[in-house]
Symmetry: C2
C-alpha cells in the first residue's frame, strides 16, 4: 500500500494534466436545473450529473487518471484495489479501456450486483472474508503475485487530481458559483474540488455534506484532527469510509463547512431529485440537497453547484418503498 511519507499533495497543474489525459474516457456531463427546486430553496441550484458517466459515478475521473498515467511496464502488470463500490467498477472500466488487468479484492458478502458490475467491466475479483485483516491479507497476496499498482479509492494524488476535473467543467458550464457542494466520505471528490476551486475560483466556497449517522468528517473538521468511526451505518453507503492524510489536507485547509442530514432527510431529498430533476441518483448523491433543504437560509440568493456523484441503485429496492 502507498506510504503517507511518499505521498505528495496534487497540484492544479496535475489536475490540468489529468483532464487532458482522461478526456477521451469520460463524459463532460450536463448540468441540470429545476425551477421548482429553486423556488423551494430560494437558491439558484445547479446539478452536475456525474451519475451520467458510463459506469455511473464520478470515480471514473480519478480511476482513468491513474490507469492512463501508468508507464507501459507497470501498465502490463495492471492495477488493483479493494472496494465494493463505485471505485472498483470505475477502475475496472478504465483498465478495460486500456486493455490491462484490474484486480479487485472484495468481501465475499458483497452484493451480487456489485460483483457482476466489476466482472462486466473485466475486473478480476478475489473474494475475502468480511474483515479488515482478511482484506489486507488478501490484498497483499494479490499485489505480491501480480505486481499490480495499488489505486486507493481516494487517498492517492492521481485520484484526487482526476476528481478535480469535475469542478473545472462545472465552473465553465455555470459561469461561476458562490458555493460548490459534494457529499463527503473519504473526501476524494471534495479534495479535488478544493484543488480546482482554489485556483480557478478562490471566492467560491466548498461545502461538504455528510450523513448524520456517519459524520466522522464533520467531527474531524470541528476537532482539527482525523476521527475515524468504526463501521458507521447509513443508507448513503458510498460515504462510510474515513478521511485519510491527503484528503485531510484539503478538508482541514480549504473546506468552508461540513453539514449533515438525517437518514429520512436524505431519502426525502433523493426522491425530490428523482421527481424534479428526473435523474436517477444514489442516496449518497442526495446528501447535499438534503442539507440545503434543511438550512435554506444559508443558501438563499446564492448560486449553488451540487455534484450528483453517482447513480447506481437497486431499482427493485428503493428506500422510500421500504419500511
Amino acid at each position: 500500500m502507498s506510504d503517507s511519507e511518499t505521498m505528495t499533495i496534487p497540484t492544479y497543474e496535475d489536475m490540468l494534466a489529468a483532464h487532458e489525459r482522461i478526456r477521451p474516457h469520460i463524459r463532460r456531463t450536463p448540468v441540470r436545473t429545476s425551477d421548482y427546486l429553486n423556488e423551494v430553496t430560494g437558491a439558484q441550484l445547479f446539478f452536475k450529473c456525474e451519475n451520467f458517466q458510463e459506469p455511473g459515478a464520478f470515480k471514473i475521473r480519478g480511476a482513468a487518471n491513474a490507469v492512463f498515467g501508468l508507464g507501459e511496464a507497470q501498465a502490463k502488470k495492471g492495477v488493483a484495489t479493494h472496494s465494493s463500490g463505485n471505485h472498483a467498477s470505475c477502475l475496472s472500466y478504465a483498465a478495460m479501456r486500456r486493455g490491462i488487468p484490474c484486480h479487485v479484492v472484495m468481501p465475499r458478502t458483497a452484493p451480487q450486483a456489485k460483483k457482476d458490475t466489476v466482472r462486466r467491466y473485466g475486473g478480476k475479483i478475489t473474494e475475502c472474508e468480511p474483515s479488515t485483516s482478511a482484506r489486507e491479507a488478501a490484498f497483499a497476496r494479490v499485489q505480491a503475485e501480480t505486481g499490480a499498482d495499488f489505486v486507493h479509492p481516494y487517498n492517492d494524488p492521481r485520484v484526487i487530481a482526476g476528481q478535480g476535473t469535475c469542478a473545472r467543467e462545472f465552473l465553465e458550464q455555470t459561469d461561476g458559483l458562490d458555493i460548490v457542494m459534494a457529499p463527503i466520505g473519504g473526501g476524494g471528490m471534495i479534495s479535488g474540488t478544493c484543488l480546482t476551486v482554489a485556483t480557478l475560483a478562490p471566492e467560491t466556497r466548498v461545502i461538504a455534506a455528510e450523513p448524520e449517522q456517519a459524520d466522522d468528517a464533520c467531527r474531524s473538521f470541528r476537532a482539527g484532527r482525523i476521527i475515524a468511526d468504526d463501521a458507521p451505518k447509513s443508507i448513503a453507503d458510498g460515504l462510510l469510509v474515513p478521511l485519510r492524510e491527503l484528503t485531510w489536507h484539503f478538508v482541514s485547509t480549504r473546506v468552508a463547512d461540513i453539514l449533515t442530514a438525517s437518514e429520512g432527510e436524505i431519502v426525502e431529498a433523493m426522491k425530490l431529485a428523482w421527481k424534479h430533476l428526473r435523474v436517477v441518483i444514489e442516496p449518497s448523491s442526495a446528501v447535499p440537497l438534503a442539507t440545503i433543504l434543511k438550512t435554506p437560509d444559508r443558501f438563499a440568493g446564492k448560486r449553488v453547484g451540487v455534484i450528483l456523484t453517482g447513480g447506481n441503485v437497486d431499482l427493485d429496492r428503493l428506500p422510500w418503498m421500504q419500511g
Copy 2:
C-alpha cells in the same frame, strides 16, 4: 373546436419561427448515450432527454408556440384545453410564463397528482364527468364564457410546428441520424419530427413506436385510413388517443414504419433506461427502446435517435414493483 376545413398543414418555416418564439421558454435538452445499450442492441443509440423540460415533457414546445404566438387581444382571454396529461400541465406552464389564463377541462376522476401539477402552474381546472359528451359540454361552456383559444394536444398546426423543434436540435446535436424514433399516440411529436426531418435530413427514416394494446396508429398506417379505438388500455398512458386529420397527414405520407411492443416489453425497457441511462422516464417514453430491443436486426449498425418524451411518473407506484 378547430374545424378540419380551416386547418393548414404546418411548414418547415413554421417550425423555424416556432423555435425562435419558444427558445426562452424551453430547454435545449441534452442527448444521452450508453455503451451498454449500444452493446446489447448492436446499434448506436442517442436519447434526447425531453423529460428534462421544466414540466417534464416535450409538450412544452407545442404549448409554448401556441401561447406565445397569440395576439395581445386573444392572449388576454387566455387558452383552454381538455387533457389530463402532460399537455395540460405544459399549456398551464406556458400560459403562466406569459401571464395569461389557462383553462383545463378534466374528468373529476383524474389522478390528484395531475390536478395538483396543473394548479401549481396556475391552470384553472373545470371538472366534468368522465365521458366524452360531458367533457365536450363542459369545454363548450368554458370556451363560451371565457373566449379562450382552444389549443388541441396535437391536432393543431402550432403544436405540431412546436414539437418539430425537438428534431432540429437532435439532428444538430448528433451530426445526423439514420433513424429517428418517437412513441405515437395522437401523433403530434411524430408529425413535428416528420416535418423537420423532411427538409433537414430527407434520408433519415422516421419510425414510430406504439403499445400493442393501443395499436390504432399502427393499424391505421397499414389500412391507409384512420382507425380510432374505443378506450384502449396500456401502461403507456400518454399514447391512448387516436390520430386526427393533421397528424394523419404526416403519418400517412412520411412515416417509414410503426412498430409495437407488449406491456411487459415496455416495462422492461423502461427499467433498463432508468438503470443504464440513469434518467427517469415515463412508460410511454420507453416504447421505442422496447421495439429496438425486440427487433435489433432492424437497427444494428445504424445511428438511431430516440426521443425520450416525458418523465412524469408516480415514484410510489413503479410498474416493475407491482403484480
